[in-house]
Amino acid sequence: MDMLVHFFQSIPFDQIVIQSLNGIVTGMILALVASGLTLIFGIMDVVNFAHGELFMLGAYIGVLVLASTGSFWLALILASLVVAILGAALQIVTLRPLIGRDPLNTILATFGISLVLQNYALWQFGPVARKINEPITTHFNLFYLEYPWYRLVIAGLSAAIIGSFWLFLKYGKFGVWIRATTQDRVMAQAMGIPVPWVYTGVFAIGAGMAAASGVLFGPLVGVNHAMGLDWVLKAFIVVVVGGMGNLGGSIAAAILISLLESYASIWVNPSQAVIVSFVVLILTLLFRPTGLFVPTPK
C-alpha cells in the first residue's frame, strides 16, 4: 500500500500536463504533414520520399519571406503557394512519366528528388540553422512555466487547415473528383474526370500542406537542411500505424505517437524518446499490420 501511495506521489502531474500540451501541439503539426503524405499515397499509390524536403523548403521560403516582408502570415501563405507550385512541377516532370510503371519506381524517383532538394538547401543556405521569429510572443502561466500562446495557435491552425481540407474533400468539386479517383480510377476517367490533373493537383495540395507545417513549426526549432528526414520518418510511422491512405487514422496516430514521445521525454532525453514511436510501429506491425485505426478486415 505504501508503495502504491509512493508511486502515485512520484508521478509529476505538472510535467504530465505540460507534456500533454506539447504532445498535442507536435501531434497536430505531424498530422498536417502526414495527411498530405497519406493523401498522395491513397490516391496516386506514390510514397513521397520528398515530403520531408517539401516541409523543409517551406520553412526556408518562410524564413526568406519573413526576412524581406516581416509578416509571418504572408510567409505562411507564400511558402505554401510556392511549394505547391513546385510540387505540381515536380509531379509533372518526374512522376507523370512513371504512371503505369511498377510503384517501386516512384519511390526511387521521389527519393532522387529528396536528395536533390536537400543538397540544394545545404548548398544555398549553408549548414547553420535559421530562425523564424514567433508571430505571437505572449505567454500564459502554467505551473512554474510560461507557456507560449503561439504553440496553442499552431495546434489550432493545423486543425483548421486539416478541417477545411476535409470539408473541401467532402463538398468541393475538385474534392469530389479526388474522392472519385481514389475509389475507382478507371471509372472516374470514364466519367470525364481529368485523372492526370487530379494527380497533379493532389501532389500540389500535399506539398502545400507540408510547406505550411514547415513554416508553422519553424519557430519551435531551427530551420536546417536535414530537418526533412526526421519528419518524413515520423510521418511514415504515423501513416503505417494509422493505416495507409486513411486520413482520420493518420491524425489519430499522429497525436498518439506525439503524446507518447512527449511523456517519454519526461524520463529519457528527447533523442532517445524517438524510440517510443519505433516501438509503437513494431507492435502495430506485429498485431495489426493493416493499421491501428482501421476496422478489422473480415
Partner: protein
C-alpha cells in the same frame, strides 16, 4: 542458358578478374584504395540486389546491416589483442545476422512500399541506439582500432599492404558474387524470382512466401555485414554515419544506376557513382554538392533507363 553463352560468360569473368588482380600493381596508391573501396561498396550493393532485383523488395535499411558488420568487427578488434582478422569477420557477420533476423522477422510481414519504409525505420532505430549509447559505441565519434594482420592459421601471417588488402577484398567479393550467383540460379532463387513476378500466385502454388522472404533478407543482410567488415578493416574505424540512412540510399542508387537483377550491375553502378563523385569534387572543389547532379542523373535514369547501365549494355550487346 546454352553451352556457348556459358563459355563466353566464364571467359568474361576470367578477363575481368585478371584485370582486377593486376590493377593494384599498376595503379598509384590513391586509385588502388579507390578501387578497393568500389569493390566494398559494390559488395554492399550486390547484397541488396538479391532483394531489389531478385525478390522485388526495396530495402532502404541496408546501412543497418553494413554498420552492424562494421561495429561487430570493431568489437572483435578492440576486445582481443593481437587483433585477429577472422574473429573480426566472425563477429561482424554474427552482428549483421542477428540484426537481419530481427529486421526480417518484422519487415517481411509487409510488402512493397511498406517493406521499404519499415526497413528504413529499423535502420534509423539502430542509428539512434548507436549514436546515443556513447559508452559502448563511442557515440558520434565512433571507434578507431588498428588493422589486423592478414593471417591464415598455421600457414602465414603478414601485415596488410594496400595491394594485399585489395587482393583480399577482391577474393571475398568475387567469392560472394559466385555464391550469390549460385543462390539466384538455385531452386531457392527461382522461388524468389517468382515472388517478384507474382507473389499471390507463388503463395497459391504452395510456397511459404514469408519464410522465403525472411531467408532472403537474412542472406542479403549477411553479405551486407561482410561488406561492413571489409570496410572496417580497410579504414580502421567505425562511425555512426555508416548506419545512417544516406548509406542505404546510396546502396539503392548503386543498384538502379548499375542495373538491378544482374548482380554485376550494382558493382558497376557503385564504380560509376564513386567515379563521378570523385570527378565532380576534383573539378569543382570538395564543397561541391555532388549529390545534386548525381540526383538528377539518378532521376533521369529511372525515367529513361530503368534497366541501368548493365541492362542497357546487355540489350545493346544482344542486338
Amino acid at each position: 542458358m546454352t553451352r556457348h553463352s556459358n563459355k563466353t560468360y566464364w571467359i568474361g569473368f576470367c578477363v575481368v578478374m585478371a584485370v582486377l588482380i593486376v590493377a593494384p600493381l599498376v595503379l598509384p596508391e590513391f586509385w588502388r584504395r579507390f578501387l578497393t573501396e568500389i569493390l566494398i561498396w559494390g559488395l554492399l550493393a550486390m547484397s541488396s540486389d538479391l532483394l531489389i532485383g531478385y525478390t522485388g523488395m526495396i530495402s532502404f535499411g541496408h546501412s543497418a546491416f553494413f554498420g552492424l558488420g562494421m561495429y561487430g568487427a570493431a568489437a572483435a578488434l578492440l576486445m582481443f589483442s593481437p587483433p585477429n582478422m577472422w574473429l573480426a569477420i566472425l563477429f561482424g557477420l554474427a552482428a549483421a545476422i542477428l540484426v537481419a533476423m530481427f529486421v526480417s522477422y518484422f519487415s517481411t510481414r509487409l510488402r512493397d512500399i511498406y517493406f521499404a519504409i519499415t526497413t528504413l525505420i529499423f535502420s534509423q532505430i539502430f542509428y539512434v541506439i548507436i549514436f546515443t549509447w556513447t559508452e559502448v559505441t563511442g557515440g558520434e565519434n565512433g571507434l578507431a582500432f588498428s588493422r589486423p594482420r592478414l593471417s591464415f592459421p598455421g600457414l602465414f601471417s603478414t601485415p596488410f599492404t594496400s595491394t594485399t588488402l585489395h587482393w583480399f577484398v577482391l577474393a571475398v567479393v568475387a567469392g560472394s558474387y559466385l555464391i550469390l550467383r549460385r543462390i539466384t540460379q538455385s531452386p531457392f532463387g527461382m522461388v524468389l524470382q517468382s515472388i517478384r513476378e507474382n507473389e499471390f500466385r507463388t503463395r497459391a502454388i504452395g510456397y511459404p512466401v514469408e519464410r522465403y522472404k525472411i531467408v532472403a533478407v537474412m542472406l542479403s543482410g549477411t553479405f551486407a555485414g561482410l561488406a561492413g567488415v571489409l570496410y572496417a578493416i580497410q579504414n580502421k574505424f567505425a562511425a555512426p554515419d555508416f548506419v545512417y540512412f544516406l548509406v542505404s540510399g546510396e546502396t539503392v542508387i548503386f543498384n538502379v544506376m548499375g542495373g538491378i537483377g544482374t548482380l554485376v550491375g550494382p558493382i558497376v553502378g557503385a564504380g560509376f557513382f564513386l567515379l563521378l563523385r570523385e570527378l565532380l569534387s576534383r573539378m569543382f572543389g570538395d564543397q561541391f554538392p555532388y549529390l545534386i547532379p548525381l540526383g538528377f542523373i539518378f532521376i533521369t535514369m529511372i525515367i529513361f533507363l530503368p534497366q541501368g547501365i548493365m541492362g542497357f549494355a546487355r540489350r545493346w550487346l544482344n542486338r
